[in-house]
């Protein structure tokens, strides 16, 4: 079926539908990764977003269910240039189209994704809507887009309290805002028992688990919407337990210390993002997926120092706090998809737990 994408600014892009052909409004963002779409689809951080893949051939190796980063895809729509008709991989469970259909995710292909990306780059992330059929009602689409609001999706994607993974000697309480499974795997592989706690749990809930450390997960949306979590993080910080935060977890910890966040023009989404660790002067290639970022100017040097910066735009990619028990990064050391070059940060976390501080 024909499909039409309309952006907030009125621009339209024609293509064809795949997956579940259901009209949908969303925030349109682009991701520049050339592979790793199953991980991306199931990354809860994309909740509410329509993701445009800049790589033009998607679906080549189908979907391997074991590569999923959560129980299902969370994004609102998947927009690509081309979809492979045949999925080829020895682990492939099903093709992309079937997967999206099964999970009720609208898809769109056959559009000039490079032109769309250039628009998003120049005008910034925008709201948009995909409508299916031969003659979509453009006025109605405009209206729907105008009325569409991104709401915080953290409550949707955060787990219920209680899941426990692994049986290692180190006990980690994971504050889950929409965790990617590989964060848990990275910890379990390193000898941890990981228990997940919902985004709105209290510090006491977590401490009842007698954790050796706390892991703050990634998650979707505007960090400032998570007032309850921010308040709890302030208490956790003051309590002084070793804590490692990734992505949204990084932003929430920063907010808890009174630093500010702002929305990037078009975000960092891809698996080729260089960050520099200032202490070692080393550059690492990282997987990133964030639309918001901690405002460097608001970071109080008495409380925290910037540990990593983006080589592309100089924005804050990591913070180390003055108590030496909390460090957080904006990028994804757990990878999946993307490079594993910063996996050592999990080791650093465990060493911190062992030593009591960094």
């Amino acid at each position: 079926m024909k499909a039409l994408l309309m952006l907030e600014n009125g621009m339209t892009f024609e293509g064809h539908g795949f997956g579940e052909e259901r009209d949908v409004a969303c925030e349109v963002v682009f991701n520049s990764a050339m592979c790793g779409y199953p991980e991306l689809l199931t990354d809860p951080s994309y909740a509410g977003q329509g993701v445009v893949m800049t790589y033009p051939m998607i679906g080549n190796y189908g979907i391997c269910i074991e590569d999923a980063e959560s129980c299902k895809p969370w994004l609102s729509a998947f927009i690509v240039h081309g979809v492979s008709g045949l999925a080829s991989n020895f682990r492939c469970d099903m093709d992309l189209d079937s997967y999206l259909k099964n999970n009720h995710i609208p898809g769109m292909y056959g559009i000039d994704t490079r032109a769309l990306t250039r628009v998003l780059r120049e005008s910034g992330t925008m709201k948009g809507m995909i409508a299916y059929g031969d003659n979509p009602d453009l006025d109605q689409m405009k209206k729907t887009i105008e009325e569409f609001r991104m709401v915080s999706c953290v409550p949707q994607v955060s787990v219920q309290n209680g899941h426990v993974y692994g049986d290692g000697p180190v006990r980690i309480a994971l504050h889950d805002y929409g965790v990617k499974q590989n964060i848990i795997r990275c910890l379990v592989q390193r000898g941890c028992t990981v228990k997940c706690f919902a985004h709105d749990c209290s510090m006491e809930d977590m401490l009842a688990f007698k954790p050796d450390g706390i892991m703050l997960s990634n998650g979707p949306g505007d960090p400032q919407a998570n007032t309850k979590a921010i308040a709890e993080l302030r208490r956790i910080y003051d309590y002084g337990i070793p804590t490692f935060g990734i992505c949204l977890g990084h932003q929430l910890m920063a907010l808890s210390q009174g630093f500010d966040t702002y929305k990037l023009k078009y975000g960092h989404r891809g698996i080729n993002h260089p960050v520099k660790e200032l202490a070692s002067n080393r550059v690492y290639i990282t997987s990133q997926n964030h639309g918001f970022v901690v405002n460097a100017e608001t970071v109080d040097p008495k409380k925290a120092e910037v540990s990593f910066v983006s080589m592309n735009d100089g924005s804050v990619e990591g913070l180390t706090y003055e108590n030496r028990r909390v460090f957080t990064v904006q990028f994804h050391p757990e990878a999946c998809g993307g490079p594993k070059d910063t996996g050592f940060l999990f080791d650093r976390f465990l060493t911190m737990i062992k030593k009591g501080s960094l």
């Binding site: 682009f30 520049s32 190796y61 081309g82 000039d112 080729n272 260089p274 002067n281 998809g337």
Partner: protein, 1068 residues
């Protein structure tokens, strides 16, 4: 930070173009030299190849076009006193030289530091045992293997690992001398050659993992330990076919993130363990049914793959590697494409590229077309598009072999069984056989089980064939036409399928608004605004080219893939013409598709279009760019072939017009001019059929030259001595559809001379006359060429100048004119005139110090030669001798005959330059890898040559050579009191000639073929054995004489080194 201690750097180039080591090193080397010079570094360059851009005086401060030997490098170092040497830019040849100098202590003694990747690293990556140890340390699996230095251990290892095994000789280029052995007998043969070929007489016997996916990573690392991967690539053909002979796609298409990251992490671990500082290529084999993988090999230097990765991503690997060598770290080097980000990122693509090899089997009809671990391609092309389908179709078009889609007429009549056989055969045409099988509904499983080509690729072929089928059967709707164009079908193909005319299809495209747009290669998938004007076509909604210009806009047509007959020389000319046009204030557009070349570097022209060179592809660019003019005379036959189409597009062709080009090519028109001016040429006829050819030959008298018109490098040309030769020859020519007549000319024996003239419409200027060592009948590209023409008397030179002037004026040439003459006694005959650049232009420009291409471009704009500072006529000869020597790649092409004739066979060339003839000749031979003082020579010549070989044999004997000869030649030599050992004809007694050649008893073979269709005969076998045993084999007595003289005069005892940027210093 940049190290201040580095001020003067020696760079070693890769020498002549041979199979396995081609233009990619000119691209990398040129980029590196420019990168170093922009840092204020003084660059001293050593490279024996005069056709390269890197050996230009604009590129390096000091340029030595000298044989690539330790002797040369030592002399240059002693003379120039550099502080550093950068060995990783000239391929394996340069790496080997540098390591040798390091190991001997020479570098240390002279205070020269090896910068970039260090010698220890090179050894660790190159020495199989050290490498294996290193991989074991970091738990990276290699295919089970062991090293052998003799045949017995080879067999023992293979017995232990189990057949099939792969044989890989250590320290060779392009995997030469290797192969897959399925049993002991095969191993015996392959290992013998392999051991011989290896510099250290070492081969690796390896578990055969053919059928696994072959994946490559291009990785960069700086001294601070920062590592990035530039690109990964997947071979369409699984392990078993040399990556240089594989269709390669970037990025990888069939790997999930798990496999991708597993191999990426492995590549980074390897580059870290090896402590590489610069670029590195890592090749993996990946089991398609598990996560099992192994490391195939690592190249700690720039390579063909790094050139491809650079062009595929826009990331300038050689430039960044050079900056790293100077001490910079990746985070300090700017991304030259975006000018915003840094070199420490990983490019991301929003298109895919397909590299397709260009093989020389059209030239070597008798060579085995099978593909294996030994590379056979001479060059390659690259197609860029958002879909694999379209990128593949573009690549097929780029090859210029009269194929524009997946059809292969040769397969039409085959039965299914025959087709299956074709799929089993791993050769250059397998893609088309696989496509035909899909067309015939063979199941993917069946095809996969035979070929192990991933089903994803098969599916893509199916998608293409589905469009083909729909075009044949369905009504042509806008949707279908759009799909066909988007998949990369050209109008002619669609016309064939639909029965509509091309004009009708073009009208429909206008009516339905189906037009390509151009997108940018920007390293970042549009995430950042890029400043680089590097484009490819696709069908989409947004065109990114801004064609507005306030300058005169000129389109330069490049020369496509490197092939025999059209090599790197034409890239030299194209690049120089772009530079000259820019100097004249023009805006330049270059259209080309060869990823190995300098012309497709992102900062040569104002805009680069990486596209096939067909009329349709060029037309699309013209429609967007609307150039004021086009230049076709620098891109070889590829560009010339487009002249007519471009003129029909209403674009002015700068310089010589299409009509004049046609006049020179068209037999009758050209003859009319020759008659008008009384310029003699060999009598000839134009024919269309074999009968006509036979009749013509009878009339002219044998021997005759037979060739198709409108060809390059004498393709399809041969000397026919009798009726059978004519029949054979016409048969070979007609395997390709001929649009133009076949030419039959009387063969004249004489001295061949060649000129490249610059003509301004008033008169012409000849930088120098080149004389060929080999008599007429051997293609000029395969002849040793001497400047100046020493044995042509002044009054004959005057005739040559006069004829050149007359031809230039009557053909209304503006720009370059290449003419070949035969001088016989007092007579000067013309062989052919080509109003375009030639392969001798770079060489003659360099040795005469006359910027020929610049002058030609000047004439396009109405400047006369005197205005540009040059007198008309022949320029005074320089006080030096410069000899261009052809270099061949026969050892890579099983079955190809080595004998020289009118069809060109050499792949590259070297220069010998000195103030005297003998030394120049000695250098040229040395540069071509022929270094003989004394030894054993096998002489077997046809009867008509026996008199002539006498003085050579006599001379060699007197110098202490031991001579071997077969019956006839032996009797003849003995009759003339030249002692020689009689050797038996093959298969008569032991040891026969073959035994002697293969056992290494012979150091030089002189063999002249008795007839040109005698492949089954002994001569052919002797020549092949010589080539396979790595023994110089000369098939022309002229070459033999030149070699003998250069040896006998002892010139090579103390060879000079000459900096061609300071030629005036060498005046006598």
């Amino acid at each position: 930070m940049k190290r201040d201690s580095i001020k003067k750097v020696v760079i070693i180039g890769s020498g002549p173009i041979v199979i396995g080591q081609a233009a990619e090193f000119d691209y990398a080397g040129t980029q590196a030299c420019r990168a170093l010079r922009e840092e204020g570094i003084e660059v001293v360059l050593i490279n024996s190849n005069p056709a390269t851009i890197m050996t230009d005086k604009q590129i390096a401060d000091r340029v030595y076009i000298e044989p690539l030997t330790t002797d040369t490098v030592k002399k240059v170092i002693l003379k120039e006193k550099p502080d550093s040497i950068l060995p990783t830019l000239g391929g394996q040849a340069a790496l080997n030289l540098a390591v040798e100098l390091e190991e001997s202590g020479f570098l240390r003694e002279n205070g020269v530091e090896m910068i970039g990747t260090k010698a220890d690293t090179i050894r660790m990556a190159e020495d199989r045992e050290l490498f294996k140890e290193a991989m074991d340390r970091i738990h990276q699996p290699c295919a089970e293997s062991d090293i052998a230095e003799d045949l017995d251990s080879c067999l023992a290892i293979a017995k232990r690992i189990g057949y099939p095994v792969i044989v890989r000789p250590a320290y060779t280029l392009g995997g030469s001398g290797g192969g897959i052995a399925y049993n002991e007998e095969q191993l015996h043969a392959i290992a013998t050659t392999g051991l011989h070929r290896s510099r250290v007489h070492q081969v690796l016997i390896e578990r055969c993992i053919s059928g696994w996916k072959e994946i490559e990573y291009e990785v960069m690392r700086d001294h601070n330990g920062n590592c990035i991967t530039v690109c990964n690539m997947e071979n369409f053909d699984p392990v078993g076919v040399h990556t240089g002979d594989s269709i390669v796609v970037a990025p990888c298409q069939t790997l999930a993130d798990k496999e991708t990251q597993m191999l990426r992490s492995a590549a980074l671990a390897i580059i870290e363990e090896l402590k590489i500082e610069g670029g590195c290529n890592v090749q993996f084999a990946l089991n398609p049914n598990s996560f099992e993988y192994c490391v195939i090999e690592v190249n700690p230097r720039v390579s063909r793959s790094s050139a491809l990765a650079s062009k595929a991503t826009g990331y300038p690997i050689a430039k960044v590697a050079s900056k790293i060598a100077l001490g910079y770290t990746l985070d300090e080097i700017q991304n030259a494409i975006t000018k915003k980000t840094f070199a420490c990122f990983e490019p991301t693509l929003d298109y895919c590229v397909v590299k397709f090899p260009k093989w020389p089997f059209d030239k070597f009809v008798h060579a085995a077309r099978s593909l294996g671990t030994q590379m056979k391609a001479t060059g390659e092309v690259m197609g860029i598009a958002p879909s694999f389908e379209c990128a593949l179709m573009k690549a097929i078009r780029c090859l210029e072999q009269n194929m524009f889609d997946l059809r292969d007429k040769e397969l039409d009549g085959l039965s299914d069984e025959e087709l299956l056989e074709r799929i089993h055969a791993v050769d250059d045409r397998r893609l088309f056989a696989v496509a035909e099988a899909i067309r015939r509904n063979f199941s993917f499983d069946r095809i996969y089980n035979i070929t192990k080509i991933d089903k994803w690729f098969l599916e893509k072929l199916r998608v293409l064939l589905d469009v083909e089928k729909r075009l044949k059967t369905e009504e042509l709707t806008r949707d279908l036409l759009y799909t066909a164009k988007d998949m990369g079908y050209i109008d002619q193909s669609i016309a064939d399928f639909t029965g509509k005319s091309v004009e009708e299809l073009r009208r429909l495209q206008d009516e339905w608004n189906i037009h390509p747009v151009y997108k940018m290669v920007d390293t970042c998938a549009a995430e950042f605004d890029a400043a680089t004007p590097y484009y490819y076509s696709t069908y989409g909604t947004q065109n990114e080219v801004d064609p507005t210009s306030d300058r005169k806009k000129v389109m330069v047509i490049g020369s496509g893939p490197i092939r025999i007959g059209q090599g790197i020389e034409f890239d030299f000319c194209s690049v120089h013409s772009v530079w000259a046009l820019r100097k004249m204030g023009c805006e330049t557009i270059i259209v080309n598709n060869n990823p190995e070349t300098v012309s497709t570097d992102f900062d040569i022209a104002d805009r680069l279009y990486f596209e096939p060179l067909t009329p349709e592809d060029v037309l699309h660019i013209v429609q967007v760019e609307k150039p004021d003019a086009a230049v076709v005379q620098f891109g070889g036959q590829t560009a010339i072939k487009l002249a007519k189409a471009i003129e029909e597009m209403g674009i002015e062709i700068l310089g010589t017009s299409f009509d004049s080009i046609d006049e020179a090519e068209d037999r009758e028109r050209f003859d009319a001019i020759l008659n008008q001016y009384g310029i003699p040429r060999a009598a000839g006829r134009m024919v269309y059929t074999c009968e006509e050819a036979l009749k013509a030959a009878e009339e002219l008298g044998y021997p005759v030259l037979v060739r198709p018109s409108y060809v390059l490098g004498g393709q399809g040309m041969n000397i026919a001595y009798n009726r059978q030769d004519i029949i054979d020859q016409i048969g070979i020519i007609n395997t390709v559809h001929q649009e133009h007549p076949i030419l039959v000319d009387k063969y004249i024996m004489g001295t061949e001379v060649e000129v490249d003239a610059v003509c301004d419409g008033v008169d012409s200027m000849i930088p120098g006359i080149m004389q060929h060592v080999e008599r007429a009948g051997i293609h000029s590209g395969d002849s040793i060429s001497v400047y100046p023409a020493l044995s042509i008397p002044a009054h004959i030179q005057d005739v040559i100048v006069d004829y050149t002037r007359k031809l230039a004026l009557s053909l209304r040439v503006k720009g370059l004119l290449n003419i070949q003459f035969i001088v016989r006694g007092e007579e000067v005959y013309i062989i052919e005139a080509n109003p375009r650049s030639s392969r001798t232009v770079p060489y003659i420009s360099k040795v005469t110090n006359i910027p020929i291409v610049d002058l030609a471009v000047g004439t396009f704009f109405g400047k006369t030669l005197p205005e540009m500072g040059y007198e008309y006529g022949l320029q005074p000869a320089r006080p030096l001798i410069a000899i261009k020597m052809p270099v061949f790649s026969f050892e890579k092409l099983y079955g190809a005959d080595v004998d020289l004739g009118p069809e060109m066979k050499s792949t590259g060339e070297v220069l010998g330059i000195a103030d005297n003839y003998d030394e120049a000749m000695a250098k040229a031979f040395r540069g071509a890898g022929i270094h003989l003082i004394r030894g054993n020579a096998l002489i077997t010549v046809r009867d008509s040559d026996k008199e002539e070989v006498l003085p050579i044999a006599q001379g060699l004997y007197k110098m202490g050579w031991k001579l071997y000869a077969t019956e006839g030649t032996c009797d003849f030599l003995s009759d003339h009191d030249i002692p020689c050992v009689r050797t038996f004809k093959i298969g008569t007694h032991t040891p026969d000639i073959a035994d002697r050649v293969l056992s290494g008893q012979i150091d030089l073979v002189i063999n002249t073929p008795s007839s040109n269709t005698e492949h089954h005969k002994d001569g052919y076998r002797i020549r092949r054995y010589a080539v396979e045993a790595g023994i110089p084999c000369l098939t022309s007595l002229d070459t033999a004489k030149a070699l003998y003289e250069s040896i006998s005069h002892g010139a090579e005892d103390n060879l000079s080194v000459i900096d061609i940027t300071r030629l005036e210093e060498y005046k006598k």
